[in-house]
Symmetry: C2
């Protein structure tokens, strides 16, 4: 199991419509093959600056790599992520063996 | 649902025995009342500096507060966390909506 996640803060300058379009685009990532347990979450701790989290799981590193290089993922990064995200942190978890 | 998690990096100076004792102490947190889906995970992304993650869920903020103030949690922080952890980030997730 690989749990791939990212916590993010959106730019303050984006409109409500741009925010809605961003999250609609996020939802399309769930349809990329082998993505499991896809979640979009609100980040509520006051001890960091991030506002949202996106989390998903893959069975294997190969599936994760296919996702990363999938045209729909690349399209999302180029057309939505770069324009809307102010800061983020990627976190990947695996079970301790 | 509140998913409370922390990603952490241990101090480089701790011994294998101290590391084992730290994770044994982490495991005791799972027994605090109302802690659900307790997980200890390896952090594998090269895009951040953290090495491990601890994740758990609560049904309510009240349960989360009781956990935070529980004597076993406070004992863990004072006797294991402060001595062994070099850096960390707390992340709390709730469902959007």
């Amino acid at each position: 199991m690989i749990r791939h996640s990212v916590i993010l803060k959106l730019k303050n300058t984006i409109s409500l419509e741009e925010k809605q379009a961003f999250f609609d685009a996020v939802d399309t990532l769930a349809k990329i093959p082998d993505v499991q347990k896809f979640e979009v979450l609100k980040q509520t701790s006051q001890k960091n600056k991030f506002e949202y989290g996106i989390s998903m799981e893959f069975d294997t590193q190969e599936q994760y790599d296919i996702y990363s290089n999938h045209p729909n993922h690349i399209h999302f990064i180029q057309n939505f992520w770069i324009n809307n995200v102010e800061d983020f942190l990627e976190i990947d978890y695996e079970n301790i063996g």
